[in-house]
Symmetry: C2
């Protein structure tokens, strides 16, 4: 969490781009996540990964997704009410995340829709691209997020 | 990893359903994942979660996704070559995962497409539904997976 201003539905317009801080992915973190959630050779061990599809140790895509969530929550998308996903339209991993990669996010607001049934909130569709230190996309996520509206001014 | 037979592209047909083992989600695991990847009040602390959208402690959707991956890898989808995702068409969390929930998977093969450019593999589209102990879906994932073909018989 940061002290940055929190954005309400009313503050968001299509085309707006928000950037996150960054983090570095270590080989140890890749292997620890894999042991807990994705115990396949290409995520667990450098030598075992050599002869596989990935040609070397690579992070689980779900690890990349989880790290992306951390960057969003830590200020990459400072939404009032937090990051509450109502569903994903797209989730792709165009290239692997390798040990030592430095990740950051660019999130673009695609659509802003006030809710008809719930006047105090709405849905925002946003494309969050996770980039490595060379500016190459390692994940593309298009998410629908629940975002509160500002309180109406008292009458 | 299990000793179950491994399935190649040639073994899969649309409509086939595969079932996983199960696992139980503890409050401690929910909080530990949240501390690492999704530090929002509704995933971190029972009391703080009460007044939120979720009305109580709930697992991060990304935790549910990661646990689903573990069940797939541990035999829920025994594909030759492992579980290698080429992209997701859908990822939804229709209801929260709560402490004590017991999760299992049902994966249905939707499409089987041999690759034109790579004769030794193909793409499988599968819908993996994560169910709780009451048989209610907590996650729906439609994934495109890279699956090897059987070696052709020697001439």
């Amino acid at each position: 969490m940061t002290d940055a201003p929190r954005l309400y539905l009313d503050d968001l317009v299509p085309g707006m781009v928000l950037r996150s801080g960054e983090l570095t992915v270590t080989a140890e973190a890749i292997k620890a996540f894999a042991r807990d959630f994705d115990p396949q050779p290409f995520h667990l061990d450098e030598a075992a990964a050599e002869g596989t599809f990935f040609g070397g140790l690579a992070a689980s895509g779900w690890h990349t997704a989880a790290l992306t969530m951390r960057l969003l929550v830590e200020g990459g998308l400072p939404l009032a009410g937090g990051i509450v996903g109502a569903g994903m339209d797209e989730l792709r991993w165009p290239r692997p995340v390798r040990p030592g990669d430095r990740l950051r996010l660019e999130s673009e607001v695609l659509e802003v829709r006030p809710s008809r049934s719930r006047p105090n909130q709405g849905l925002v569709k946003a494309r969050t691209t996770t980039l490595n230190q060379d500016g190459e996309p390692v994940q593309v996520l298009v998410a629908n997020l629940v975002v509160p509206r500002r309180e109406p001014m008292p009458a």
